[in-house]
């Protein structure tokens, strides 16, 4: 136990200087002529673990490296494109592709997410990416009409498989299954608005979604309903 004569307080931590005023501490003697009752607490010297100072880096080096490379490629292409402009903004293809790669490759690598989450994100971003390519190249008739519905079916099927494989964790995945089922009905809207020409893949996607939904209610009715209430409570 030490003592600071300036602050008139005792200091119960192993320090050379007073934590309040930085005065050099003297040793507190209990055998004074005027004994002061000690506080009931035990005289521990070290009350707290030492801080291991080093602040951890939130993003690691690999992340920063890839991010920098992306910026270099993207901005270089944009610069060249603008300097030698020939009527086509071709650099947007490059930037769009880089963005797509970040969402589908880098995001799952760097951000810790559930596989269901990644499947949903990948499906959605691939559909959007292909549809914009389709629009940009004016080669209509493949992305939204064929790829998107089949991609949705494949993703729904994949999540169904995962639920079967990891039955204990079905609750985690049922929410992604629900999202995929809702997405699976989207192509029907494309049919109605006339965005897709052969409508059978879109109808098939909606039908498959319907079957999956029916299966979920039939095989896990109460539990599934509870899960939906939890996730969607207002």
């Amino acid at each position: 136990m030490k003592y600071c004569s300036k602050c008139n307080v005792k200091v119960n931590t192993d320090l050379k200087k007073c934590p309040l005023c930085s005065m050099v501490l003297s040793v507190w003697k209990t055998s004074d002529s005027n004994p002061v009752p000690l506080p009931t607490c035990d005289m521990d010297v070290e009350k707290y673990p030492k801080s291991d100072a080093g602040v951890t880096d939130k993003y690691n080096f690999v992340f920063r490296l890839f991010f920098f490379i992306t910026v270099v490629i993207g901005s270089t292409c944009l610069l060249i494109n603008l300097l030698y402009y020939s009527g086509v903004l071709w650099s947007l293809y490059v930037i769009g592709t880089l963005l797509y790669l970040w969402i589908t490759v880098a995001y799952p690598l760097f951000v810790k997410r559930k596989i269901g989450h990644i499947i949903v994100i990948t499906t959605l971003s691939t559909s959007i990416y292909l549809y914009s390519l389709e629009l940009a190249t004016r080669s209509s008739g493949w992305g939204l009409s064929y790829v998107t519905p089949f991609l949705f079916i494949a993703a729904t099927l994949m999540i169904t498989f995962i639920i079967f494989l990891r039955r204990l964790k079905w609750r985690e995945y049922s929410i992604y299954q629900t999202i995929m089922v809702i997405l699976g009905f989207l192509p029907v809207i494309f049919c109605i608005t006339g965005l897709v020409t052969p409508i059978w893949p879109s109808i098939l996607s909606a039908f498959y979604s319907f079957l999956t939904l029916a299966g979920m209610f039939i095989f896990a009715d109460k539990k599934y309903k509870n899960e939906l209430i939890k996730r969607f409570h207002l």
């Binding site: 506080p39 521990d44 707290y48 209430i229």
Partner: protein
């Protein structure tokens, strides 16, 4: 409220976040933990294996703590967590944000260091009172497993008794009044200036004050412990930073109030409100007595059941607003976050939380040195204070993210000049 367990299986239980809890997930992250700590210091070193066993035994008694947080489309919710939390050795800094990857999804952390058992709690789960109730049950079970006896008393929740519905309800929802029209209107407060510490550090200064002599000092002034300490805190800030300077922004201390004292609630979830007490220093000189009078008057005026009903009604009604409810969680978080950064910590200069006297069975007292209550680091402000008392000692704690120590120095020197025998501890 709303314990919805339609299935008998334990793992299917889920809870809505209580009204006060709803803000915390939106505003918290690695840099703002919203974590506070209650700790107990025993007379001998903690045995981690036995503490782990005590934790596993007592946790099921506290179903609203044994949860993980999940995202719904509109709100967060708590879901029973079947895992068992791990007791860890304490790591610096205290009250750092809870990383659910480290805690098996739990939103609290039980750690030990030498003689101390610390319970660090994410504020969305419960407030100081709820956390202390759990810490006491855990400690008593720990001591029992050590073979030191069985401790039971009104002051401790028995782990063998089934939790009552009262304990898991959202009392805000129970006691609010839907007819009350109320708005939040508060003035921005003065902010302490100082040099900020490096990130991920928290300085803690405990001052151990003999309770009896302090109480007689408080009695002399015809006031209460909270009022006296709040006034002294304001006086310390005024004397070190504002003296002979005109400052129109008021120095306001946010004092949390345990609403269980005003309503017949036994909930173990959040149930506290706050009073912002303070004044602006527009004239030249202020004495401690002057400040104390203002603080006492504010407290007498504000600390009443009607005022608290008014306060909680505004919050519960905001939560129940259909428009607010229909907004997806992602957007809600943005709204809450920006509202909090606009108001939140700007409305007060510092927090001062009084946990009160910690009561335990007399037979248990032989094994316990003291209890500590530490608030986590503030983000905009630089300083938080808390106090709790146990038997003969009162422990005042400054948790701060600034280098300067003027305020604490003034604070403790003031008390020691009043003849109190103060012991300082620091990390």
């Amino acid at each position: 409220m709303t314990l919805r367990s339609r299935s008998a299986r334990n793992d299917n239980k889920w809870y809505k976040l209580d009204n006060a809890a709803k803000i915390y997930p939106a505003i918290s992250g690695p840099s703002r933990g919203s974590v506070f700590r209650v700790a107990v210091q025993l007379k001998c070193d903690v045995n981690p294996l036995i503490l782990q066993e005590a934790l596993a035994i007592t946790l099921p008694r506290f179903p609203t703590l044994a949860v993980k947080m999940k995202k719904g489309l509109f709100w967060y919710y708590f879901e029973s967590n079947p895992a068992i939390p791990e007791v860890t050795v304490e790591k610096a800094p205290p009250c750092r944000a809870i990383d659910t990857d480290e805690t098996n999804g739990f939103l609290f952390r039980v750690s030990y260091y030498k003689k101390r058992i610390s319970l660090e709690m994410f504020h969305a789960l419960t407030d100081g009172t709820g956390a202390l109730a759990y810490l006491k049950s855990l400690t008593s079970q720990y001591l029992t497993l050590l073979g030191l006896g069985v401790f039971s008393d009104d002051s401790i929740l028995d782990y063998e008794v089934h939790p009552s519905f009262d304990e898991i309800q959202d009392s805000f929802e129970k006691y609010y009044d839907p007819r009350i029209k109320s708005r939040w209107t508060e003035e921005k407060a003065y902010h302490i200036y100082g040099t900020r510490l490096a990130p991920d550090t928290l300085d803690i200064i405990h001052g151990i004050i003999p309770l009896k002599s302090f109480l007689s000092l408080v009695k002399e002034n015809n006031t209460t412990v909270t009022e006296y300490l709040t006034a002294l805190l304001i006086y310390s800030i005024y004397s070190t930073q504002l003296k002979s300077r005109v400052c129109y922004a008021p120095v306001k201390i946010s004092v949390p109030v345990n609403l269980r004292n005003f309503f017949p609630s036994r909930t173990l979830r959040n149930f506290s409100s706050y009073v912002n007490a303070g004044l602006s220093f527009t004239e030249k000189d202020y004495s401690f007595e002057q400040i104390l009078n203002v603080v006492s008057a504010t407290m007498k005026n504000e600390v009443t059941q009607e005022k608290f009903i008014r306060k909680i009604s505004a919050n519960v009604k905001a939560e129940k607003n259909m428009l607010m409810r229909l907004v997806p969680l992602v957007l809600k978080n943005v709204v809450l976050k920006s509202a909090f950064s606009a108001f939140g910590e700007n409305l007060f200069t510092c927090s001062f939380s009084n946990l009160g006297a910690v009561g335990i069975p007399d037979t248990m007292a032989d094994y316990i040195d003291r209890f500590e209550f530490v608030l986590g680091p503030p983000v905009i402000n630089l300083l938080n204070c808390s106090v709790c008392s146990y038997r003969n000692d009162m422990i005042m704690t400054f948790s701060k993210v600034m280098h300067e120590t003027d305020i604490e120095r003034f604070f403790f020197r003031f008390l020691s000049e009043k003849g109190l025998d103060i012991t300082i501890e620091t990390n």
